[in-house]
Each structure stands twice: as C-alpha cells, then as structure tokens.
C-alpha cells in the first residue's frame, strides 16, 4: 500500500529530528486542493476545529466543571450524532454532510462528574474504508478518487445525522438508508435495522416524530420517483405499517411535522433533476414552481390536502398543530435559497465561509387554511436553525420554540440561544459572544406534569478560544440569564447535527 503523507511524517518524526517540522518543510504539500485549503485555514482559524477529523478509536473523558451544577431533576444521557471523519489517504470530502457519523454520550448525573464518550458508527462503509485506508464509496456530496459504484443505499450510509431511542436501542439515523442500531450503554454498533420483509435498505430519515402517546412516525424519500416511504411504529417499538405514497414532488425533504391528525411535508425548491454523482448534484434549484405543502391523513394515507407556497428551502421544522376546521400551524427555519446546502457546506470543507453561501434561515410561522389558503409571518430578529420544542407538545398547540440564532453580519456559526413565544412574538435570548459556536439545544421537561416550557435546555458548543467542546445547561424559561451550569472537555469535537435525550 502507498505510504500516506501523514504516515511518512510520523515515520520521520519517530526517526527523530523531525519534531517541530511541518509537512511543507519536507516539500510534502497536500496534492488534494480541498485538503490543502483546509489545512491552511486550520492553521489560523479555530472555527475549523469543528470540521476536523475525530480519532478513529473514539473519545472518552471526564468533563471539567466550569461553574454551576446539574439541576437535581436532570439525570440522563445526551446522545448526539454528526459527521466526524472527512479525510482518508490525504483526500478530503467535498461536503460537510459526507463525514462518517460519530455518536456521543454525555452522561449527566446530579452529584457526579459529567462524562463524555464517543464512537464512530461501524457502518458497512466505515468498516470497509477503515480496512482499505481510503474512501471507497461515493457519498452525498463527494466522489472520492477510484470510488466504487453502489449495490444499494446502505453501501454509502454514513449514519451521521441524528439519534433516537426505539425499544431500548439507540438508532443512528441518516437520510438515505437504514437506521443503524447501537448499544446505548457502550455505543457499539449492532448493524442496520431491518423492519421486515421488503423493507431492507429503505430510507428511514433523521427526524422521526414521536406523538405524546409514544407512537413514532417517520418517512424516507424516493425523490426520483416523486414518492415517500411512510413509517408508522407503535409505542412498543414494533412496526405497524410501512408503505409508499406517490405524487410528493422530489424536492429534497430533510424534516417533517406531525399534528394529531396529519403528517405534514414542506417540499422546498431544491428539486430532483436527473441522476448524477455526487448524489447532491442530482438536485437543482427550481423556483419556477411553488413550495408544495402536503398534509397526509395519519389514519388514511390516501387522503391528503395540498398548499402551494412561494418558493423556498428548509432543513428543519419546529412543530405543528391542527385546529378544529383543519387549519394547520407550523413553524420552521426557512430560507429563500438552498445555497448553504449546495455551496456553503462545500465551502466548509475548505475551511472557508462566504456571506453569499452561508445559511440565512429565519423562523417562520405558516398558517395553512382550508381550501389551499395560507399566511406566513417571518421573525426577522435573527437568523435561526435547529428549532426544538417541548416534546410533550409534539403535534399539539403550543407556545414555545427554542433555537440557535446568529446576527446579520455574523459568519461561522450561531452564538445565541433563543426562546421564541409564537403567541406573543416575545423572544428571550442569550448571546455567548464570539468565542462560542452553539449547537442544537434540546428541551427536557422538569417533570411529566410541568407546564409547557418548564424544564431545561441542554446543548453542546465549541469554545474556539479554549479549543474545546463544552456542555451548557439552561433554565429553559430564563434563557437570557445564561447557563446554570457549564462543563468543558479536554478536546474539541467536530460540530454535530442532532441529538436525543435519554432520561435515566
């Protein structure tokens, strides 16, 4: 096998005398222009720590307490997932969403130290590529040199987007293939979850919704067929039904909403065009058509209502509810274009950020009335992403959404946590300032009977000055007071996408 540049450097270092000398001193510049650009950016921009590779063996540490303490009722595990391996054999992925999934467990027990554990999901792809020492598979946004074709979607499954507990197992979720099952205590991978005959390899997307009674709803998209797979799983974790539903336009769908009666899909205008590699290039921006909203009856998947909204794009939805006359209200982080997905997340792999391709999503409250009428109200106070709600109110009328925020002239990630009152429009906001990149906050109710919004927000962050990942806990009602407790790891984790809370 060819000796990689890094292996050569470590051999030279081991031979003595090479300490303190960098690659360029040996004339060993990266030949991959994306890797070379990232290494140059990483030399002076600590934001790039969130786009760097995590060690293949994973991570384990006790977090240092910075201030405060865990609230007495907050006991459990924050699981998170995100892309954490971008480079092999001196070649770097072209898109942030390509990295292999690393699943985290932050264990929070009042009176005990906060601990952190992380392991790569041992997908088929991960194992084959670890063995080969190079990337073998085309991914969402990259075609590595000499990559192989695919025998099915799970051959490129990176299991890197989210996590959820189903029937005692931790599922690492991706958008284009199977959920990958892990042991929640050890984070060891068990393999692809197959729900039944004819269901292997079907997409099980990364934003399942859980009704207050524990019923799980999910979808997977077949954009080239203008179709969805719908999943209905009982509170016992057993599959109730999975089937195809047609005539849903093939605009890339990342998230959806449920009400007590409906499954609600907002189809943005990054539309399936024709099959190309990398997969992302199969989609093209098309604002000649509407942003179609489809609400499918939970009880009868042949029944639907549709609305045609002005063109737009979204990754994430806060939540939705439905009124007696069938009016649906849904809040989501929407933008007028998909440039972050198609370009900004590519810039990130070079360690670059440009204002014209950075994310510009803002929260919107959309009211879908009977007969195809609708209204939209945009909250213009800040950019917004990763909206979260009190999970007990999934599908039900509610007031609050929590999300990360950032201001107009601010690049390189969010610095704010925001609580937004949809009824009054009031916001409460905490801004960490320039050193901190805030990641998705999860809301954890103070108790089963607590009123909406009474509980905690738990989130991770990258502290660029300390070059370390942190965990912060807020009183969710008083976000503006700042964290009630903060902890720091002895290392920086790559930025993650989404998490779940497992109460213990």
């Amino acid at each position: 096998m060819q000796t990689s540049r890094r292996e050569m450097l470590s051999m030279l270092a081991a031979a003595g005398g090479a300490a303190g000398l960098s690659g360029p001193a040996f004339g060993l510049l990266s030949t991959d222009p994306v890797l070379a650009a990232f290494e140059a950016a990483a030399a002076n921009d600590p934001w790039t720590l969130g786009m760097a590779d995590a060690p293949a063996e994973g991570r384990d540490a006790v977090a240092e307490r910075l201030h405060g303490r865990l609230p007495s009722g907050l006991s459990g595990v924050l699981h998170r997932n995100g892309p954490a391996r971008f480079t092999r054999n001196d070649w770097r992925y072209r898109h942030w969403f390509d990295g292999d999934g690393m699943v985290h467990a932050w264990r929070l027990t009042p009176g005990e130290p906060v601990t952190h554990q992380a392991r790569f999901v041992e997908t088929r792809k991960w194992l084959a590529e670890e063995d080969a020492g190079r990337f073998l598979m085309p991914t969402f946004g990259s075609v590595p040199p000499d990559s192989q074709g695919m025998r099915g979607p799970d051959y490129m499954n990176a299991a890197n987007t989210s996590v959820m507990m189903i029937d005692g197992a931790l599922m690492a979720l991706w958008e284009g293939g199977s959920a990958w099952e892990l042991d929640p205590d050890t984070l060891e991978s068990r393999g692809a979850k197959i729900w039944g005959e004819g269901l292997a390899g079907l997409p099980f997307s990364a934003h399942p919704k859980v009704d207050p009674d524990g019923t799980i709803w999910n979808f997977g998209q077949a954009p080239m067929q203008d179709a969805l797979v719908l999943w209905h799983i009982g509170a016992d974790g057993q599959l109730r039904r999975a089937d195809m539903v047609g005539d849903v336009p093939g605009g890339m769908i990342h998230d959806f909403a449920v009400t007590d009666r409906s499954l609600v899909f907002l189809v943005g205008n990054l539309m399936w065009d024709r099959a190309r590699l990398p997969y992302l290039d199969s989609f093209a921006w098309d604002d000649s058509r509407a942003m179609r909203v489809v609400a499918i009856d939970k009880a009868d998947w042949s029944q639907r209502r549709v609305w045609d909204l002005p063109p737009g794009f979204l990754f994430h939805i806060g939540g939705a509810w439905e009124e007696a006359d069938g009016t649906i209200r849904v809040d989501a982080a929407l933008s007028d274009n998909a440039r972050f997905a198609t370009e900004g997340a590519r810039d990130a792999m070079r360690g670059h950020v440009r204002p014209e391709t950075d994310s510009t999503s803002r929260m919107r409250l959309i009211t879908l009335r009977p007969g195809g009428r609708f209204e939209q109200a945009e909250f213009a106070d800040s950019y917004a992403e990763f909206p979260q709600i009190d999970p007990r109110f999934t599908g039900l009328e509610r007031r609050f959404t929590w999300h990360v925020g950032w201001s107009d002239n601010q690049l390189r990630g969010a610095s704010q946590l925001v609580r937004r009152d949809l009824a009054s429009g009031e916001t409460r906001r905490f801004d960490f300032g320039d050193d901190i990149v805030v990641e998705e906050p999860l809301f954890i109710p103070a108790s089963d009977r607590a009123q909406e919004g009474a509980g905690w927000l738990v989130h991770t962050a990258l502290n660029k000055r300390a070059r370390a990942s942190e965990l912060h806990v807020f009183d969710a009602r008083r976000v503006d007071d700042g964290p009630v407790g903060s902890w720091r790891l002895p290392y920086a984790n790559p930025y993650g996408f989404h998490g779940c809370w497992r109460s213990l």
Partner: protein, 140 residues
C-alpha cells in the same frame, strides 16, 4: 414468431462475438454472506443482449458455504459479461424492497458496480480465450 426471431438474433450475436476455438469458463464466487439458496447466473455475449437481458447461457448453483465455483463448457471464445444474484430464499426471484432496490446480494463480472442501477456492459465486459479461463467475483 417472436421466440424464433429472438433465438435467431441471440445466435447471430453469439456468432459475432465468437472467435476461433472453444473455451471453458470457471467462475469462483467469494464473500457469500449466508449459506443456503442458490446463485442465479446469466452469461451475456453482447452489449445488446446485456441491456435486453438475453443470456447466452445460464445456471442455478446451490449455495452451501461462503464460496462456490461453477463452470460453463463449450463456449465460443469472445467477449462476455456476467450478471448474478444470490437467491437467498430460493424463490427464483431477485427480491427487492418497496422502492424496487434489490435486497438480495448481486454482482457483475469484473466486480463492476452500477451507480443508480446495474453495471454497464463497458464496465462488466471481459474476454474468454480459447481453452480454460477463470473469473473471480465477490459478493461482499
């Protein structure tokens, strides 16, 4: 009528592809994940037949371990391609999921892989010389 013309066409293409001399092809398949069932194998002699699914020869090969090998005899030398799948449940059909994606392992000659569908003839084509030939495929 259709059957006869198809046969004539298949024979004609086989003749075009053929070179001088008879050949024998031994195919060994490794990386079988699950014992049981059978391999369903088609040998194709031209690009047109590859696209149309008209095989020049075919075999059903019982699977009793993680590898098997089998032989095609009395072949005209020439260019060929192989499509095979592991019919794990032995029902004679290539099982697919709701979206039509195969759920039983499959392979093409040269271990070629498709991108959004089957491998192309250009990637899968290989040459059978007069005499003995061997071809190795991996189902992993």
């Amino acid at each position: 009528m259709i059957t006869i013309s198809t046969l004539v066409l298949a024979a004609a293409t086989a003749l075009t592809a053929a070179q001088d001399g008879e050949a024998e092809l031994t195919v060994s398949v490794t990386g079988i994940q699950q014992a049981g069932g059978q391999l369903v194998v088609g040998l194709f002699a031209s690009s047109e037949d590859w696209e149309a699914g008209r095989s020049a020869a075919g075999q059903f090969v019982p699977v009793d371990g993680d590898s098997v090998s089998f032989t095609f005899d009395e072949l005209p030398a020439g260019t060929y391609g192989i499509k095979l799948y592991h019919d794990v449940d032995g029902d004679g059909e290539m099982d697919t999921n709701l979206m039509g994606i195969p759920t039983e392992p499959f392979a093409f000659s040269n271990n070629a892989r498709g991108r959004f569908g089957p491998a192309s003839w250009d990637d899968a084509v290989f040459t059978i010389e007069p005499g003995s030939n061997a071809h190795a495929l991996d189902l992993r």
